[in-house]
Subunit: 92 residues, 2 copies
C-alpha cells in the first residue's frame, strides 16, 4: 500500500463521493448503496478499492459491516500535498 493506490482510489468521482458521505460517520454498504442508486456489486467494488488504498476501514458489528474513513491515511496525503506548496507560500 502506498500513495499510488491512494491517489488511484481518489481519481474516481464515485469513490470521492463515497468518502464525502463517510464524513458523517460510519455506514454499511447498504446505506451507501441507497445514497447512490448503484448495485450492491458496484458499491462492493468501490469499497474494496477504498479499503485496499487505506482510505477507509471496515468493522463487523453484529451482523453488519461498517465502513469508515481512515483519517491517518487522509492525513498522510494531506501532509504530502501541503508540502508541495510550503516553500513558496512562505515567500508570498
Amino acid at each position: 500500500m502506498g500513495f499510488q493506490e491512494t491517489f488511484k482510489a481518489l481519481s474516481d468521482k464515485t469513490r470521492r463521493e463515497i468518502l464525502e458521505k463517510l464524513k458523517g460517520g460510519r455506514m454499511t454498504a447498504g446505506d451507501i448503496a441507497s445514497n447512490f442508486n448503484m448495485t450492491a456489486a458496484t458499491v462492493s467494488h468501490h469499497l474494496a478499492v477504498l479499503r485496499d488504498s487505506g482510505l477507509i476501514s471496515d468493522e463487523k458489528v453484529g451482523k453488519n459491516i461498517y465502513y469508515e474513513l481512515d483519517l491517518s491515511v487522509v492525513d498522510e496525503i494531506l501532509g504530502w500535498i501541503a508540502g508541495l506548496g510550503g516553500d513558496r507560500n512562505e515567500k508570498q
Copy 2:
C-alpha cells in the same frame, strides 16, 4: 480537467518526485531529466500528464520552456482532502 486527472497524475511515483523537485522553483525538461536518469521522451510524457492535470504550467522564456508548480490546483485538492477530515477532527 478535474480532480480525476489530478489524482491520476499524482498516482505515479516519478511524477510525484518531479513535483517535489519543482518545489525549489521552475525547471526546464533538461534540468528535470538530469535529476532522474530518464530519457527526454519519458520526461516529456510525465510533464505532459502533469500539465494536462493542471498541477504544473509551462512558460517559454527565450529558447527554453520552464515548468513550474501550479499552486492553485495544489490548493484545490488540498482543500478537498482537508475537508474529509474536518468534521471528525473537530470532535477529537
